[in-house]
Structure formats: C-alpha cells, structure tokens
Amino acid sequence: MGRYVLRRVLQGILTLFLVIFLLHLLTTFAIQLNGNPALAFFGDRVPTQAQLSAVSARFGLDDPCYNQLGNPCFGPFVNRLKDYLSGDFGTNLRGREITSIVATAAPNSFRLFLVVTATWLVVGMFLGSTAARRRGKVVDHGIRGFSVMIDALPVFVMLLVYRYVITVPVYTWAKKQFGSDSFIALLFKPSFDSDHPMITVIIPGILLGLAGSAAFIRLVRAAQLENYNSDHVRAARSKGLSERHVRVFHIVRNSSIPVATAVGIVFTEALAGAVITEGVMNIYGMGGLLWNAVRDSDVSLIIGIVTLLAIVTIVVMILVDLLYAALDPRIRYE
C-alpha cells in the first residue's frame, strides 16, 4: 500500500511537470504567432516602446525568444518553474498577486463544489441505483430519459435560462413576500452575494451538479447491473441474507469501484462547468475570476489560474487513485 501511494504521488508530480510544460509551450507559440499580450495592459492606448518593454519585463515576456517562432523558450520556462516552486504565480494586469486573489476567491469555489458533490451523490447514486434495481420498468426508462434530457441541456444553457427566465420573477416575488434578506429571496438571487456566500451558491451548485450527474446515473446503473447478475451476489443471497443487506454490502459496495475511477474525469468536466457557472452567476470564485480575466484579456491572470486549477486536478486524481486502492484490495496487494 505504501509503495503504491508513493508511486502514484511521484507519477502525479511528473504529470504536473508535463502539464506546466505543455501550458508553457502552448502560450509561447501563441505569443510568437500573435504578438505581445502585454499590449492588453494598455487597452486602446498605443504605448511607447519604453512603456511596452517595462510592462513586458514585469510579466516576464521580455525574453527575445518570444519573437522567434518555433523557439520553445526554455529559459523563461525554467524561471517560471522557479517562481512556481517559491509560490509565486505572477500578478494580474493591475499588479496584484495572483495567489492572494485566488486565496480570497477559492473558498467560494469550495462552497460551490460542496453543493455539486452533494448533488452528484444524491441524484447520481440514488437515481442510478433505482434504475438498476427496477431495470426495464417504467422507472428505469424515466430515469434514462431524465439523464438524456440533462445531457441535452449544457450547463451554460441551463444557467442562462435559470438566470434570465426564472430568477428575476421569483426573486422579485420573494423579495416582496418575505423581504430581501429572507432565505427564499437569497436562494433565488440572480447573482452571488458575498454577504451570504453559501445560500447564493446552492442553486447554481445544484444545476452544475445535475449536469455531471447524467454521467453518474449511467455509470452507477451499469456498474450495479453488472453486480446484480454476478455470482458473488448470488452466493451472498444463498446465505440467507436479506435483500437489503446484499444490496448495501455487495452491490453498492462493489459497484463503487468503477464509479470511483470515473470521479476524476467528471471532476475535470465539473471544473470547466464551474468556470461557466461562476461566470454566468457572478460568483466570486476561481472560475469567476477566470471568466472575467478572459473578458478583460488579462492573460497573466488566466495562465496563473489555469495552472493552479491543473494542480488541483492532479491532486484530485491522485486522491481518486488512492480511494480506488482503498476500495479494491486487488489493487492494494498488487
């Protein structure tokens, strides 16, 4: 077990290194093709050469390799790695430390993901298990139709409809009925409220969680069906155990293994969804920062946040692998 953990962590670090290198290569080529992103600092104004080079230097874009198409810019990459290792992820266009911006925004993203995870578990597990148990019945078909409908409504569309079509009338009504600080009014508030960070992320979180739960429903159903027909479940039943006991200890427990492996993939999708959710709903989280950074063309902030999110993803993937090993003794004793 110890060796397995160590191996996974080392692999994760290698992947992280490669991811950072990939991001570096892609941005480098984009800059070489497209010109200095420091220009965005000046907006519509045309800077003097001196101003431009000063700003370029501040963002580490003054290396001549950025003018040579095809040069992988190893020099700036090494510098950037050193910066990352010392916890320096650069500054945004206005000169604020990205790490300090992210520190204030991350808790809100965390709140959002709390709701998202709860939705996955409740909706995905519950509907997936129900569909498996009632395979081929009306309920099964209904749940399947539901998951197809979810797939057909991208998070983006769901949120737009929610924000523009649903919240406005409901919020106005709730404000009139219960007052603007009441729970119901806040719940349906069309945009994030930093005074009530938890209440105002509940519904966006549920919508985002729903989007990912379609995959969960299918996965849980498939994994449980495989177990329903397996020999070990039949053997467990032959011991005279109650159906409920068999379901909990043999079907749900065993099907949690393939479901756990999928969490990593669903998580990266949810990360992308979080950017959209936080952007559309004005939630001040990491995704919301990224969304606004894109609107302001704040490239330095974009690179910093994408890198940080990549680190988070890798950590989650390592955790998923450890969870996998904890769930499946066959992996542990390899």
């Binding site: 941005t27 984009a30 991208p154 983006f156 569309v157 952007g279 894109v294 994408v306």
Partner: protein, 312 residues
C-alpha cells in the same frame, strides 16, 4: 447498425437529397431505426438543421449582415410578416440570424469531432498495437492533456489569440476548431487503445499475422473495424458537446466572432437585451441550440445502446 446510422448522417450532410430517399443501401439501417420513434425524430431534427446550415437561402431571403436601424426591435411577426422572428436592436432580421448562425456552429462541431476522431483513432491504434515506448509516450500525453479541461484550455489559448484578424466563415472558426481539437482527441485514443488491445490477440488477427500480413494491413483490415464501433457511439454526443462549447466561447467573445453570426453570438447578444423585454432575442437561438443538441444526444444514446445491449 450503429456504423450505418452515422454514415446515414454523414451522407445526409453531404447529399441531403439522397439521404431522404432511403435507397436500398440504407434500407437496413432505416428498418432498424423504425423501432424507436424518438430516434427517427431526432435524426429528422438533426437532418433539418444540417440542411439549414448547408442551404440557408432556402429558409430566408434576408441577409443577416444587412441590418436597417430603422427596423430595430420589431417583435416576432409570425410567418406572414417581413421579419417572422422579429429583429434585434440594430434592426438585423432574427430569422436570418438563426438560419445563418447554424452553419458556423455545426461546421465547427463537425470539424472538431472529425479531426479529433482521426487523431484519436490513429494514436490509439498505434499505442495499442505497438505498446512499448510508443504506448508510453501516447498514454502519458493523454494523461497530461486530460488534466486540462477542454474549456480551460480554450479560454487560455483563445484569449492569447484575441487580437488576431480573421475573415470568412472558415477563418472565424479556424482558431476555436484548432484549440478544441487539440484538447478533444484523448477520449477516442483511450477507447481505441483499449479496444485494440482486446482485438489484437484474437485468433483471426494472430492468424493474419502468422500468414505474413504487414502491420499496416493488420491494423487497417482487422483491428480497426472492431474499434470503430466503440468510437462511433461517442460521435453524436461529442458533436452536441462542441455545439454547447461554441456557445460559451462566443458568449465570452473568444469563439466565432462578429461580424460572422453563430448561435453562440446571438445568445450572447440576446441575453444582454433579455431584461429589456426582448425575450425572443434569447429564446430563438437558445431554442435552436437546445433542439440540435437534444437531437444529437438522443442519437448518441441510441448508438450506445446498440453497441452495449447488455446494459439495456
């Protein structure tokens, strides 16, 4: 059946007149599909929007770029009037916008998915077939690319290209197409690799090898046809995904860009005007997007079923 269904779609895209005819070649596919009415409806909806994208002139005589500010903000008039879906704030005809907006959205989706499948199938086959260092490199690359979600990569790279000049429909979708493809091939690679690993030790493949068939021939003739089935089931769902992503990118101003029109751009414009009482400006393009995505998702679901009947 699954392969045929998608081929039906692809052929329909190229020759819509033939696709509808349901000639003898497609007879089998149609007979199988007839059992599931929702699949037929979905296929018809997808087909309809493909025709719209290919021949916008059939559906509107207006030019979406030709806007008369004097006609600004006309509400929908129904199909008798000059502007059946009304006009937007600058007087552009909404029907024309929705009709012409179909092309970039769908073209982008087909290009991205087509290229991703091509790359994914090639790399997956090589990795599964040769294993060793080829597999190490490809699998490692898949892992690295998977860490960065498609949308994040698109936001990063397209922001860097923000200032670049573009022209024409193809030019305006080239950047998003490249970026989305760059981060869209991994899923197919994984599936194909796993499938090739399974297939390559089957007796008939081993037999072909013993008989001295070349690697290329074994891959193309024996291993690939098996893997294609799995990949095919992913295609319609992936198309639906790209259509949705395009809308997000356009909303942020880094996807298909004006003056070109796409559903994403219309949705972005419409949402700004929504509160001002012009709900239809958001709802028409949004409705088209949802219908198309729904159609492709249902097709994908049916294909997945056909390929993995034990889960039914």
């Amino acid at each position: 059946m699954s392969d045929q269904t998608v081929q039906v779609l692809i052929t329909e895209e190229q020759n819509p007149e033939e696709g509808r005819g349901g000639g003898s070649i497609w007879g089998d596919a149609f007979r199988t599909l007839r059992r599931r009415p929702e699949v037929i409806i979905a296929a018809l909806v997808a087909l309809f929007f493909l025709v719209v994208a290919l021949f916008p002139k059939l559906f509107t005589s207006q030019d979406p770029q030709h806007c008369d500010i004097a006609d600004s903000g006309i509400p929908p008039q129904g199909f008798g009037g000059a502007h059946p879906f009304g006009t937007d704030i600058t007087g552009c005809d909404m029907l024309a916008g929705v009709v012409y907006g179909a092309r970039p959205s769908l073209l982008l989706a087909f290009i991205v998915v087509g290229l991703s499948v091509l790359i994914g199938v090639t790399l997956g086959t090589l990795a599964g077939f040769y294993l060793g260092w080829v597999d190490t490199i490809i699998s490692r690359a898949v892992e690295v690319f998977l860490v960065i979600p498609l949308l994040l990569a698109a936001l990063l790279l397209l922001s860097l290209f923000h200032g670049a000049e573009t022209s024409g429909v193809l030019g305006s979708i080239l950047q998003p197409a490249l970026v989305l493809t760059l981060f869209g091939w991994m899923g197919y690679t994984r599936y194909v690799r796993a499938n090739v690993l399974e297939t390559k030790n089957l007796d008939y493949v081993v037999a072909a090898r013993v008989l001295g068939a070349s690697d290329l021939r074994i891959m193309v003739r024996h291993v690939l046809p098996n893997a294609i089935g799995t990949v095919t089931a992913l295609v319609p769902t992936a198309i639906a995904g790209v259509i949705g992503t395009e809308a997000v990118l356009a909303f942020l101003g880094i996807g298909v860009r004006p003056p070109a029109v796409s559903w994403g751009i219309l949705i972005s414009n419409g949402s700004e005007r929504f509160a001002a009482g012009s709900q239809y400006l958001l709802l028409f393009p949004l409705g088209c997007l949802v219908l198309t995505v729904l159609a492709f998702v249902i097709l994908g679901d049916a294909l997945r079923d056909a390929l993995d009947p034990k889960l039914k």
